[in-house]
Symmetry: none
Subunit: 197 residues, 2 copies
């Protein structure tokens, strides 16, 4: 694994607009060959897309984790319904350095109960927790109608990173990073590659 | 061609009265530039009218054909827990041409109940439904320990496309398309770009 830091240096030196990198470029940076690169990366369970290459952001974070130089990040989930609970229970988050530290909901039947060892709190508790910097990232797992208001509340209290699952675009200031997830895209890509086999 | 689903998402989210769309709008939706758009579309042999743009309905059909999702595709979800239910209820699937037609589980407390208007069936019913070609795609939303066995059962009965959420790699024959989903990657990409702002 002595080559990983060299791959990382290449990734960090790439032009920020670059989304993908080839195994040949990584090989050159590490003084190795493309087959070594593929073997190194599959060894840390990281795979590229044939003919396209490796995702720069994902590989960057994956190598940092492997080298133990990634900080752990704290995550709050707003909306403790089916999706919120599935994410709170998902071991893959902790494995990659994300700790779910809080869950918020407006449903009195859910408030006060636990998902794993995380308590579902009343949304009212959100403002105080944001101000005391209890978490860096918020996940929106609320119905579409509630998403914009919840996003505004998070931003107002200093949260700058939001992963939005609600099927509606949320308007936030420039400085806030919002990433929209749409799992139907996964089905589209699956059926794209499936039909080309 | 990984940008095609993003163009398609823009087309579907446009106001239904819109007949044409510009390469700039498509570029913005896919985080690319107008030249990329023109190259992508001429690659699938689709051309716009200079000064006017691309026909929305025609481009929609063309991209769907290219993605192999021209027709509606039927989806079965195995595992009717938190994640399975969140996916079954998600309106975004139907909007993009995917109909959830069946849910399977092994928990007697869930079998016979409904999620929306889809009945949760006993896993035993899976074999017959596969053979009668009731669906094209299966989603695995089962615990990691059950994933391999369920995947084998699906493949044995003729299913060739699997979207796997369970945090374990499933081994299937070459001809079967499996796409692995890991939502922590979304958080990784969010925190990568967030830190580079
Ligand atoms: N992007 C995707 O791929 C994808 C996939 C599945 C579901 N979804 C979306 O994710 C969201 C959640 O889905 P679900 O199946 O968990 O729904 P759900 O109804 O089971 O859960 C929603 C939860 O949000 C809570 N809630 C409502 N308003 C709130 C508010 N203002 N603040 C805090 N909590 C609030 C509800 O009490 C409920 O517990 C929906 O918008 C759904 O469309 C997206
Ligand atoms: N990839 C991701 O990003 C991601 C995110 C969240 C959850 N997950 C994973 O998705 C899976 C489901 O998560 P969840 O929160 O819904 O868990 P859950 O425990 O709520 O649901 C699992 C369901 O599967 C059923 N089940 C168990 N064995 C089965 C079998 N052999 N056949 C059919 N059904 C069976 C259970 O009865 C239960 O209803 C887990 O493996 C979890 O790790 C992945």
């Amino acid at each position: 694994m002595v080559r990983l830091p060299r791959y990382l240096r290449l990734l960090e030196d790439l032009d920020p607009s670059r989304d993908v990198v080839s195994s040949e470029e990584l090989a050159e940076a590490a003084g190795a060959n493309a087959a070594n690169v593929r073997r190194d990366l599959s060894h840390i369970d990281f795979h590229g897309v044939r003919g396209i290459g490796y995702s720069v952001p994902e590989l960057n974070v994956r190598i940092r984790q492997e080298l133990g130089i990634a900080d752990r990040q704290r995550v709050a989930i707003v909306g403790a319904g089916n999706l919120g609970r599935a994410l709170a229970n998902y071991g893959g988050l902790s494995k990659r350095g994300f700790d779910v530290i809080a869950l918020y909901d407006t449903d009195v039947r859910k408030i006060g109960t636990k998902v794993g060892d995380v308590l579902i709190q009343d949304l009212e508790g959100l403002d105080g927790d944001c101000l005391s910097k209890s978490f860096e990232i918020a996940i929106l797992a609320v119905p579409a109608v509630a998403a914009q208001q919840v996003a505004e509340r998070l931003v107002e209290h200093g949260v700058h990173s939001i992963l939005n699952f609600a099927p509606v675009r949320v308007n936030v200031p420039e400085k806030v990073s919002v990433r929209q997830v749409d799992l139907s895209m996964e089905l589209q890509v699956l059926s794209y590659y499936g039909s080309r086999l």
